[in-house]
């Protein structure tokens, strides 16, 4: 359980975290989303006492991190890959960290095995790939068999097998009743891993809700309709809230109504439907919509949030003509 109360961090004139309050509950995976520079890492660093809050407090499992007698059994943290001396081997790094809490050799070997580092444990960390460094960081986080895990971009640099492994591990740890708090900028990854999401932008919490709620808040569901009589169908459906976008001949994307209404309208008029597919807004769409105002570093070609989920569809969208 992590509880932050009006937590702020100011670096010179810049307010990195601006009075945020949130609770990360045990028993589920909580995702922490935000654009670059939104304050994710700063917040995580304050949780484990690396950065001192300018204002406010944050406690883990009931008290500030630094006051725990046995911090690594309370919290396992991966804050950046390679927070390791490059001249030391992975196994010796684990030994050094384990020694502070008296964790035995057996536990070190366990985490090496769990993270798949057996073959490289004796090598110096300086030569590790990002993914290997990430696995070592996760091994350190797991050393104390902690109640709470805090991981900053854990899948960064991992291969697909590693991504899957982290996803399953996080889900399993949460099922065991642990608190799992992970940040990512990969929205799709969050949709698969997290139960609950905190969205942060410009140092403030923009959303604090379950994944389902966040997706539901998206600009609205769209329905993809394939019909040889698409134009007639769109004419029948015409209404103030309804938008229809033609994707290609005989394929329209309709928003502002439900698949049920469209299906019934088509049946009543005797129109043929080849496809009637409701598309949920993706987490990514909702996220883009939520953070559109809060993005600190805009890239030149930032496109506004559109309700497209499928790259093929969005490519086709370039030839879209508004029908309404």
């Amino acid at each position: 359980m992590i509880i932050a109360e009006s937590l702020s961090k100011t670096y010179g004139p810049k307010r990195a975290v601006d009075g945020i309050s949130f609770t990360v509950a045990p028993g589920k995976v909580t995702g922490f989303l935000g654009p670059n520079g939104a304050g994710k890492s700063t917040t995580m660093r304050m949780i484990v006492g690396l950065d001192r809050p300018t204002h406010g407090t944050v406690t883990v499992n009931g008290c500030p991190y630094a006051q725990h007698r046995s911090p690594l059994t309370e919290v396992g943290a991966l804050l950046e890959a390679k927070a390791v001396h490059t001249g030391r081997s992975a196994a010796n790094h684990l030994r050094a960290v384990a020694a502070t809490h008296g964790f035995g050799r057996a536990r070190i070997e366990e985490v090496i095995e769990m993270t798949g580092l057996q073959t490289v444990a004796g090598r110096r960390v300086g030569g590790f790939s990002l993914g290997m460094g990430q696995r070592l960081g996760i091994a350190v986080a797991l050393l104390g068999d902690p109640q709470t895990l805090i991981l900053d971009e854990p899948v960064n640099g991992l291969d697909p097998e590693g991504v899957l492994w982290v996803r399953n591990l996080m889900r399993e740890l949460a099922t065991q009743g642990r608190t799992v708090f992970l940040s990512s900028h990969l929205m799709s990854e969050m949709a698969l891993t997290a139960d609950h999401i905190l969205v942060i932008g410009r140092g403030r919490i923009i959303a604090d809700a379950s994944v389902a709620d966040i997706i539901g808040r998206s600009s609205g569901t769209t329905v993809l309709v394939r019909s040889p009589q698409a134009t007639e169908l769109v004419d029948l459906l015409r209404g103030p809230d309804i938008t229809a976008t033609s994707v290609e001949a005989g394929l329209v994307e309709i928003s502002g109504t439900t698949a049920q209404v469209i299906g019934e309208t088509a049946a009543a008029a005797g129109l043929v439907l080849h496809e009637l597919a409701p598309r949920k807004g993706s987490l990514e769409d909702s996220y883009m919509a939520l953070t559109a105002d809060a993005v600190e570093y805009h890239s030149a070609s930032t496109t506004p949030a559109t309700s497209t989920t499928d790259p093929a569809l969005s490519a086709a969208g370039t030839v879209t003509e508004e029908q309404q």
Binding site: R52, S70, E80, K82, A83, R95, G102, R107, E110, M114
Partner: protein
Amino acid sequence: MSTLTPTATPRGATPGPAHPSKPAHRVTFPRVLHSEWIKFSTLRSTVWTLGSTVVVMAGVSFLAVFFTARDAFSSKTSPEEAAPLVALLHNPSIVVTGADLALLAVAVLGVLVITGEYTTGMIRSTLTAVPRRLPALWAKALVLAATAAVTAAGATALSWAVSLPTLSAHDAAIDLGDPQTQRILIGGVLYLVTISLLAFAIGAILRVSAGALATVLGLLLVVENLFRAIPADFFRNVSPFLPATAGHQITATQATIEQARATSSAPVLDPWLGYGVMFLWVAVLLAVAAVLLRRRDA
């Protein structure tokens, strides 16, 4: 595949959600010390620096003894020139001549022990494991001081051993039973240990390897020598109180000190007072490092 096995859970405690704090795994100072020892001993650079300390110190001491003896007893040396050289040879300080160069090795070690953690990011692992922070600083300083002491003692013993044949040949073998000789030999070790802690404290304050090395070596090699060389009263009066100059007195014989007093109007510190001044410098710098470590973001 990834069950977190309950090995870290003490017997009797129920695994699962609300397991209580595990007293078996508290962070204690001996554990932090053990961790710092593992960190210290698993880096090649520390092993190399310590080895070079021994080689440099014994090598320089041997060369000093060997060439002083050769010149003192050479037929080309006039009796007037030979007298001070013979006196030098009979001065027990000659055995620890190498400390003047070995101090660079221990200073580099002292800096890198701490700045190496900052430049690699290791410090964040250290401070996450020991969030109270100060135990990690003290443990690190203790490991450094202890290894510097053992290394300096070994280097002093080796310096003595390699000088012995030359000194014995000229009937100048130092008397290990003499209290002043003992003070000089032990003092040389203390001097090197304290230099390493001085460098460590500066490293902990500046946190950047390059900056800290430049500061420490600049202080030891440039600033202190400059103060000693500039013949203005201000510099000559301050110079004896600079850390390495003051600490160096611990390796001087009383006779050398009296001689210096006779020829100079500037203050000349007694051996232990000089070492005390150096120790004070280190104590103050370590205190500053401790306060900053508690305060600063890692």
